[in-house]
Amino acid sequence: MRLALFATCLVDGLFPDVGKATVAVLRRLGQEVEFPLEQTCCGQMHVNTGYGREAYPLVRRYVDTFEPYDAVVTPSGSCAGAIRHQHLELARQFGDEALLRRVESIAQRTYELSEFLVDVLGVTDVGASYPHRVTYHPTCHSLRVLRVGDRPLQLLRAVDGLDLVELPDADTCCGFGGTFALKNSQTSTAMLADKIRAIQSTDAQMCVAGDASCLMHIGGGMSRLSIGTETVHLAQILASTKDAR
């Protein structure tokens, strides 16, 4: 299987450790993974802000870049969701039949990390060790666009030493929403405050999720409040092993 990593623009530019962790997990499971350097962004930010026209070339770019691969893995439920749904919508909207067929094909082969591990590789125990108290926030797009269900939880439950505590009102949005966090900053902050309160109530050391974007928002809020709880991406926990410590 020729496997590619789609890091997402955010991980590429701001959170490279999440990308490195994804590579590490995949390699540990015997996968050879490539990072095609032509990749940039799935265009979700553009689409969600109303700039479908600007996103269109990014859709083409995604298809051109990843078409040669049998599978694409991305450490972002949100971007995987955008590829599976928005890319199709855009190709349809622009009446580009040829592109639509190519988009359909690559969208089917694009997986969010937990989906790839559980569904494609059939693994839930990735041999990770992470002796910390952790609570899981299922990000909206993983939950409602991708329907990843309990796959991330299956993976987390198999992590050695990990103490998984349930997050109250877990399925409520953290208030990120891309440019929503800027355009409706105050409402976004009010949502964030409630999310942080819920995280705090679990007394977890770390809040884990499958999306760097939501974690940036939640982590940025918790850092501002100095509440002493941090965020960690699912890939980073799965990459963590006993030997590494």
Partner: protein
């Protein structure tokens, strides 16, 4: 468009827009802790009730699909069904009126009431009349309209605006209601307490008087059955039934999208609606009337008010499936915090954010499509499966397009979006941009950041850009099999954790 004497002409008669944008209007809702508390309590309770009664039906998804399909079918052949409906109403002795917009509808209703010689009317809670501002139009014509739905009455007496489709006074608590009653209800017992039963009792006494004297009633309709000309009102208090049976003249104002083809189709909606709205298996009162009885006069005003335009948009028309159950409001995290008034329309919440700008045109409501984090909770609960998030995105595009045609020069936002897209369509430019960001690591430490980052850092720290982007790492050593340990260990003592490291 026609106008008539006594009508305020300065503003259009639709209650679908305000001059304030959503972020501006949300401020007072966010700051109102009493309202936030009331909303949270109310929506949490109703959410749980809804989830329970929906879970009881193992064919919920099929019902939902049927609910969507019947509406889509009807909308696709709306002219046909409207004609069928009109013919049936006429055959049943009723009169059908067509109103292109709120002004016309208000004019028709006012004329009909005037013709009776009455100056008092009772009303069943109706979103359509709310939408067109009928009460204000009637007042201007010297006619007093009394709302008989308890929550609607509270809003009316409090000279307030509704903030929820189903529970218009959801933002009020008991002691506020007591004060409103004491201040504005005639002949109210001055010893009124804020016990819900006492309050309901006071409202009942007040309303009984109105019911017994009113000769004219105005209603909305939850459904209109095309082949029989039957109208259907679904409610909880029984006040609707009083309005619909006692008065001699009954005027129903109904949006043209409310039709279903046959009586049988109600089977689907009468399961979907109460479970989604009040979390009940069935609502207490369902009134249906087909034509008038002896001595009664019966009118239907069919209201367009932007619906045809909505229908003309293939990507937006499914908003017309909406049966106004309000389930999407009750699960919306934005609604719960900002409150219904922030939407500036009688249709608040997720459905309001798509319906209002469609009915008015996006130019008049440009901030509403952005009043959502696109979390998708609304789509999951909608009993007629309206994909609200996708529609919001579509309308955002319309807003951007309309701004583009309004301003010849690009806005700051469109300029930065174009620049980002330009950067992201080239590997060379993208790599350079990431390197520039690493070099500018200290930028996140600046005391004042330019917009839009300033909006971010009001409540959140920014992540520190890394020394090296993922792609540069990959080129340097990632492509070899020596990926470094990248696990995040809270005990490792990195102090710069803002977001995932």
């Amino acid at each position: 468009m026609t106008t008539f004497l006594g009508m305020p002409t300065a503003s259009p008669t639709t209650h679908l827009r305000t001059s304030e944008s959503f972020p501006q209007a949300a401020r007072s809702g966010l700051a109102n802790s009493q309202q936030r508390h009331n909303l949270r309590a109310a929506t949490t309770t109703i959410r749980a009730k809804r989830a329970d009664v929906v879970a009881e039906l193992d064919d919920w998804e099929e019902l939902r699909a049927a609910g969507a399909a019947i509406k889509d079918h009807t909308l696709a052949q709306l002219p046909h069904y409207l004609e069928l409906f009109e013919a049936a109403v006429i055959a049943n002795g009723g009169t059908v009126h067509w109103a292109r917009d709120g002004d016309e509808a208000n004019e028709i209703v006012t004329r009909l009431v005037r013709a009776t010689g009455e100056t008092e009317v009772v009303k069943v809670k109706s979103m359509a009349t709310e939408e067109i501002g009928l009460n204000e139009a009637l007042t201007a014509a010297g006619i007093t309209a009394t709302e008989t739905d308890l929550a609607e009455l509270i809003v009316q007496l409090g000279d307030d605006r509704p903030s929820h489709i189903l529970v218009p006074a959801i933002h009020r608590n008991r002691s506020e209601i007591r004060d409103i009653f004491l201040g504005n209800m005639q002949d109210v017992d001055p010893a009124l307490t804020n016990d819900p039963e006492v309050l309901a009792g006071a409202a009942r006494v007040h309303l009984r008087r109105k019911f017994l004297s009113a000769k004219v009633a105005i209603s909305g309709a939850n459904f209109g059955v095309a082949d029989t000309g039957t109208l259907c009102v679904v409610e909880s208090e029984g006040n609707g039934r009083m309005c619909l049976t006692l008065p001699r003249t009954l005027i129903t104002v109904m949006g043209i999208e409310k039709l279903v083809p046959t009586w049988r189709d109600l089977e689907v909606y009468l399961q979907l609606l109460p479970r989604s709205s009040t979390g009940e298996r069935m609502n207490p009162y369902t009134s249906m009337w087909t034509g008038a009885t002896e001595g009664q006069d019966f009118h239907v005003v069919l209201l367009d008010n932007g619906r045809t335009a909505t229908l003309a948009d293939p990507r937006g028309r499914s908003a017309l499936r909406c049966i106004r159950c309000s389930a999407c409001l009750n699960v919306c995290p934005v609604y719960e915090r900002a409150g219904g008034h922030a939407y500036g329309s009688v249709y608040p919440g997720p459905i309001g954010a798509v319906l209002s700008p469609q009915l008015t045109g996006v130019k008049d409501n440009p901030s509403l499509p952005f009043a959502s984090s696109l979390c998708g909770a609304c789509y999951d609960v909608c009993p007629v499966a309206i994909d609200i998030p996708t529609m919001l995105v579509h309308l955002r595009e319309e807003v951007v397009l309309s701004k583009r045609t309004q301003h010849r020069l690009p806005t700051a936002e469109s300029a930065s979006m174009s620049a980002a897209a330009w950067t992201m369509t080239s590997r060379r430019r993208w790599t350079a941009a990431l390197r520039a960001m690493s070099l500018g690591r200290s930028v996140t430490r600046l005391p004042a950041l330019p917009p839009p980052l300033s909006a971010w850092v009001r409540s959140r720290d920014l992540p520190q850009p890394p020394r090296e982007s993922l792609r540069d790492w990959w080129v340097r050593e990632g492509s070899t099999d020596s990926a470094a340990d990248t696990a995040a260990d809270p005990d490792a003592g990195t102090s710069d954790a803002r977001g995932p490291r």
